[in-house]
């Protein structure tokens, strides 16, 4: 275990909605990322994963909690105090085209972070811009083009080049491939993996695309309704998910081989709105294995197996194995 790049402690973000109601987008999320490590934050739409990323980047202000970056608490900083830190924490956006200013040429888009970071000479910055273009597989010909003249994959490469321009310690990838064609996705994922291995930054990979996560990340944290329900090494979670929600999520992955029909595990209904979060374990109304405890309290996130933390009463009672028992309240999972 190396030095911590990022530590998030009990992060909370509520969005007020009218006078009395609030959207509990993120409700007590804690995790850490070591230097050079890639952590995936996985969940459905509405799970709060993007909100976590935006809080870390201070694009929105967290309601509560602490964010420590390379040992320094950055939570209490004002926007202006945080500004010098920004070059060390960067973001790659979900929408490649929308994240580039339509009225700026690629050369200027890539020059801006350099200019704001170190104010070296324009000539020196230009060499760095060319180097960046080369690193993401684009050539000098792109310098004078406008974003709309590029393909989606090329636009995302520019977005990545901009994010790594200042040699950040942490790059937050907010669904970097979900807006791209399937054929381009793999290239971008390979590029991201390659860059990380060469340059050693830490990734927070926010995604609902489990196959993408598996290619890039060493560890996974799975979110449901603003809370992390399970974390652990990618291989182990994919091989044996402990939380019922993780299991359902993984079982929803489509495998390309039609013969490989792994047993399907489905939850009842759909993800509730983060405005009316169920009491107790947020999953219990949908969980086929819910026991009485689940409706009363929220299960603590505990290390049940080495390196694996799970928030589930049933898994805890049975030493990490969430399987139905004779006293399970409701029937068999939906096949």
């Amino acid at each position: 275990m190396g030095e911590r790049a990022l530590e998030v402690d009990r992060l909370v973000k509520f969005f007020p909605l009218g006078r009395r109601r609030t959207v509990k987008a993120v409700n007590g999320v804690s995790f850490h990322i070591d230097r050079g490590e890639a952590l995936a934050l996985v969940g459905e739409s509405g799970s709060g994963k993007t909100t976590v990323g935006r809080c870390i980047l201070r694009l929105i202000e967290p309601t509560e909690g602490r964010i420590t970056f390379l040992g320094d608490d950055v939570t209490a900083m004002t926007q202006e105090q945080f500004r010098p830190w920004r070059r060390r924490i960067q973001l790659v956006f979900q929408e490649p085209y929308d994240s580039l200013n339509p009225r700026m040429r690629i050369g200027r888009i890539l020059d801006e972070p350099l200019m704001l970071a170190d104010r070296s000479t324009p000539g020196g910055r230009r060499a760095r811009v060319l180097e960046l273009l080369d690193m993401v597989g684009l050539g000098a010909a792109f310098l004078t083009l406008y974003p709309h003249q590029l393909s989606g994959g090329e636009q995302q490469r520019v977005g990545i080049a901009r994010a790594i321009a200042t040699n950040p310690d942490l790059v937050v990838l907010d669904e970097p491939t979900s807006a791209l064609d399937v054929s381009v996705r793999a290239e971008i994922l390979d590029l991201l993996t390659d860059l990380q291995q060469r340059l050693g930054f830490a990734y927070l990979f926010i995604s609902h695309d489990l196959t993408a996560v598996r290619r890039v990340c060493q560890r996974v944290a799975i979110m449901y309704l603003g809370k992390i329900v399970e974390t652990g090494p990618t291989d182990e979670i994919f091989a044996r998910p402990l939380h019922p929600y993780s299991r359902a999520l993984l079982s929803s992955v489509l495998y390309p081989d039609p013969v490989d029909q792994r047993s399907r595990f489905l939850l009842a209904g759909e993800i509730p709105s983060p405005i009316d979060v169920p009491a107790g374990c947020h999953l219990h109304p949908r969980c086929p294995w819910a026991i009485d405890d689940c409706a009363r309290d929220y299960p603590p996130l505990e290390e049940l197996l080495p390196g694996r933390r799970v928030a589930c009463f049933l898994a805890r009672r049975q030493n990490g194995i969430a399987e139905p028992r004779a006293d399970a309240r409701s029937g068999v999972p939906h096949e």
């Binding site: 980047l57 694009l59 926007q79 202006e80 500004r83 010098p84 920004r86 070059r87 960067q90 973001l91 956006f93 979900q94 929408e95 929308d98 994240s99 580039l100 200013n101 339509p102 009225r103 801006e112 972070p113 704001l116 970071a117 977005g159 901009r162 994010a163 321009a165 200042t166």
Partner: protein, 287 residues
């Protein structure tokens, strides 16, 4: 901001109203540059013994009560009217866009800039709640009728308008992801507002430049008509209408009709150019 010429003309050819407006704009600009020199008579010269002549071979639009040639005055007037309208509109555009970017970008923020944003909007509210014509009258009444005072009054009048259309566009543009991206690379608030947001929020203000010029010509004339604008012998459509109005009632229709027509056609032309430009600048209107 580049306008690709070939594309522009292909667009303009399909819009007869826009083309008509362009012709009007070009004619007024031409007259503003050369009008007083190509006029057959000196526009401020009262010809002795030739008062209130109906249109004839020597005086195509007749003469007014002091014996000044109306045709010469009608084509000399854009020099004053257009200059006033152009200067006041450009000043209002610059002021309105800058204030609109600041008030829109920092709307709903915290701290000093939020106060500035609110102050700007409340200022604009107060300004617009005040009857604008009365304001112009008061200013001119206070400082005396002169071209400079008309320009100042009109510039003030049009600032809140450019402010509001720009603010509206900014409120929309600031939510786009490239603005977050600019913040992530470490740009300050003001830098993001003016380098990233403003260039993407100019379209409504630009499209309204031309109609505002037309409207300013109308207001200049209106101020002159009530005697609070351009002082009298200067050729100006509004004051010409004012001079000619008493004659209209006694049947000498030409005294006020021709300046009135010139004014109406000009305002229509500038409005049509504005409509056409809005369609041209808005990609969603394009086919």
């Amino acid at each position: 901001m580049t306008i690709p010429t070939a594309h522009f003309w292909r667009f303009a050819r399909t819009q007869p109203g826009f083309l008509f407006g362009l012709v009007v704009v070009m004619v007024t600009v031409f007259l503003a540059l050369l009008g007083p020199w190509i006029a057959p008579y000196r526009p401020e010269e009262a010809l002795p013994g030739q008062a209130v002549l109906p249109p004839n071979v020597d005086h195509w639009m007749g003469t007014d009560i002091s014996g000044m040639d109306i045709f010469s005055r009608v084509i000399a007037a854009p020099r004053i009217d257009l200059t006033i309208a152009l200067i006041s509109t450009v000043v209002a555009f610059v002021g309105g866009v800058v204030l609109g970017v600041v008030s829109g970008f920092f709307a709903g923020a915290r701290g000093l800039w939020a106060l500035v944003s609110n102050a700007i909007m409340r200022g604009a509210d107060i300004f617009q709640a005040f009857p604008l014509f009365i304001f112009a009258l008061a200013l001119v009444g206070f400082r005396g009728p002169s071209i400079q005072n008309v320009i100042v009054a009109l510039a003030f009048l049009n600032v809140p308008f450019f402010l509001r259309v720009t603010r509206g566009a900014v409120l929309h543009v600031r939510e786009r992801p490239f603005v977050d991206a600019a913040r992530c690379v470490g740009g300050s608030g003001l830098r993001i507002a003016f380098v990233h947001v403003m260039p993407n929020a100019l379209t409504p203000a630009l499209a309204n430049l031309s109609p505002t010029i037309g409207f300013s010509i109308l207001l200049t004339s209106a101020l002159s008509f009530v005697g609070a604008g351009v002082p009298i012998p200067t050729p100006e459509w509004g004051s010409m209408i004012a001079i000619g109005a008493p004659n209209m009632m006694t049947g000498q229709w030409w005294t006020a009709l021709f300046p009135g027509l010139a004014l109406g056609v000009t305002i229509l032309g500038y409005a049509l150019v504005g409509d056409g430009l809005r369609d041209y600048l808005d990609p969603t209107h394009r086919q």
